[in-house]
Amino acid sequence: MPLWLREHSWRQTLTAVYLSLPLRGARATPANIFCTEQYLKVSIPPFLFEAILYAPIDDTNSTAKIGNGNIFFTLYKKEPAMWDSLTLANADKEKLQHVRENAVLKAHEKAKEETEAKKITKQEHKNYALEATMKLEEAERKRIEDLKEKERQKVAKELELWKNQQKDADKYKNIPKKGELRQEIEELKEKKNEKMDKTRIPNEGTSKARLKPTKGCHGSCSMFSENLKEEQLPAPRSAATIKVNFTPRVFPTALRESRVAEEEEWLQKQAEARRAINSDLSELEDLKEEEKNPDWLKDKGNKMFAMGNYLAAVNAYNLAVRLNNRLPLLYLNRAACHLKLRNLHKAIEDSSKALELLTPPVPDNENARVKAYVRRGTAFCQLELYAEGLQDYEAALKIDPKNKNIEKDAEKIRHLIQGTLQGS
């Protein structure tokens, strides 16, 4: 049950009502005050004060001051008239309820309207700001354009001026020499005719000789300084040839020479190989997710090989191959394992399969190919098929000519072959 606050005091003028409500120690905030046109409520739990006002008030302009332990309301009347009392008398419970509900509804509506209005004004402000910035940017742009235009015009004017100067200079140059000019033209025509004859009847021997007389004539008749220089020109150089060498081709060369097409093919093959997974293996269902990944299996195999556990490595590679039989590195590594296990035929098979998959031959897979050849060569030699072994070593050497080990081994095999030939 709320505690009703009844110790309020009020006084009124024609237009306003002043209500003072003492709060018995309670602290009030604006949220506790609820006021509509004809209903006023102050609720600070557990205290409660409500009043149905005698006549409607203008609740937007009315104020409430909170302080000094009481709330001081200044309520402006809608119609200036003297009230008999602050509240309506004979207010029964139903009417009270009704009034309360109305009040709440009205408050809601007002709140809604206010938010709407606020939104609209915010929008307008934003638009205004946007337009203002756009105008500013436009002005800036225009200013820069104007600057550029001015610059351009200035430069164009200078150019015109210079051109006119050139034209004038030419005119002045030509005027005093008009007399000479005719002579010049005739001489030029003569020279031209001679030259034309020269080109029509190529005559190397006489050309040089003919040139000198015209040059001499030219030099004496005209006042141009350039022609005087002509007389002093050195004779044409005596012909000579300089031989050059070009830097040997080093990969990577310019794009025009790189074997892009083949590299693309290789990359595509690799990409496809990764995607090709043999599906139908039902016994693989109980394998863990990572064990179905050929790369993971390859890594596992490599680790086993490094530790010396060749059988386990072979198992890992086998499983990987069953999952994806297009990855050349799996076969390559398995060949190495077989070599260590002295399964020479299997080593040869795997190296061959690896080499098959390592086409087209591009610098990318050079290393792999060298290893494949070397492993196959070793297997052949251990089977005493030295000729085939030598072939493979030489192929490896061709790819990687700088590898000393391969060279040494190839030499050894050659000696062996010669030794057996001599022996048998």
């Binding site: 150019l159 050139q166 350039e226 020109l233 050059v244 060498n245």
Partner: protein
């Protein structure tokens, strides 16, 4: 990197743009005039030479000359100022010198190479430098030949691969060091990154190096002085600046290199009025303007006591993107500072003005 403030930097202003109906391979200013030449290849496989004049804000076509073979490159470097004959190299390996007033028959013609002449340069003409006017051509057949217009049919110097050696395309040639009548040097860049410097006075190979990527363009900063700097541009956006004043017996010339962008740098051209400023044009349609700064000491002694050059530094003054296609040719006007023309593979030729070069 650049010490020049933003507002004071040179600006590249596009003055005129002209759309062409053929592929332009080379564009050159006609010396002492406001005219320019565009050399290229028409769609039907013939060569075109167009002469334009800069009038106000547009280019006016004065003359169009058609030749049986597409033309790849041209130069005015070896003619006198009055004659202004154009030397061209075409797709068939022919070197021709034309009088543009009467272009029906060439003044000089020789089938110099078996394959396309990629690059041509001339020295000794235009009142610049001393010595006999000569033309050098570099071709896809791997040879570099020097021609004297007074000697028919045979070159005065021929730089060819040793017998049996597989040839590399020569992509660019440049003359340099022509400061008196005897001295002359030819620099050639090849597609495998080789740069070779041939001394024509001693008829020998003076220096060679390899910059790994094919060399698209080489140019000395001035042809007619004691060789000072050489810029070589290559594929994959790199260019090298070599200090040519000091040659070390084993290490050659000192250099710095700069990487611009991912695309090929097609051309480098030094400003005729200031030999430390050059412009590079790129495969992405952009132009970069650079300034070279010399180091405090241009040479120093190494541990054995032989002189070694010291390379300076390069700073970017400005860059601008004009087109989406490579800008394959670039030429500064020798008469007006900052005026240049560039031709791009989008079949347009553009006249540009670079401002504020006086303040550099």
């Amino acid at each position: 990197m650049s010490a020049v403030a933003g507002a004071e930097r040179p600006q590249v202003v596009s003055h005129v743009q002209q759309a062409l109906s053929y592929t332009v391979f080379d564009c050159k200013w006609v010396p002492r005039s406001a005219r320019l030449l565009c050399l290229g290849s028409a769609a039907r496989g013939t060569g075109l030479v167009q002469l334009y004049e800069l009038r106000g804000a547009r280019l006016e076509l004065l003359r169009e000359i058609e030749k049986p073979k597409p033309i790849k490159c041209g130069t005015f470097g070896a003619t006198s100022l009055q004659q202004r004959y154009l030397a061209t190299g075409d797709f068939d390996g022919n070197l021709n010198i034309w009088n543009l007033e009467a272009p029906e028959i060439p003044v000089y013609s020789v089938k110099g190479h078996k394959e396309i002449i990629n690059s041509i340069d001339g020295v000794g003409g235009l009142g610049i430098g001393e010595g006999a006017p000569e033309i050098v051509t570099g071709s896809r057949d791997g040879t570099v030949k020097v021609w004297d217009p007074r000697q028919k049919d045979t070159p005065v110097a021929n730089m060819e691969p040793v017998q049996g050696e597989s040839k590399r395309d020569c992509w660019t040639v440049a003359f340099g060091n022509a400061y008196n009548q005897e001295e002359r040097v030819v620099c050639a860049g090849y597609d495998n990154g080789d740069i070779k410097l041939f001394d024509l006075k001693t008829m020998s190979l003076r220096w060679e190096t390899n910059i790994k990527n094919g060399v698209c363009s080489v140019e000395f900063d001035r042809k007619d002085i004691n060789m000072n700097k050489l810029v070589a541009t290559s594929l994959e956006g790199k260019f090298h600046v070599f200090d040519m004043r000091t040659q070390h017996p084993t290490k050659g010339f000192a250099s710095i290199s700069e990487k611009v962008q991912k695309s090929t740098i097609w051309q480098v051209r030094h400003l005729p009025q200031n030999r430390d400023i050059f412009m590079t044009s790129g495969g992405s349609g952009s132009l970069h303007l650079w300034k070279y700064e010399y180091p405090a000491q241009r040479s120093k002694k190494d541990s054995e006591g032989s002189e070694m050059g010291v390379a300076g530094s390069v700073s970017l003054l400005q860059n601008v993107t004009l087109s989406t296609q490579p800008i394959s040719s670039l030429d500064w006007s020798p008469d007006k500072k900052g005026l240049c023309v560039c031709g791009a593979f989008d079949q347009t030729v553009r006249v540009l003005i670079v401002t504020k070069l006086n303040k550099i």
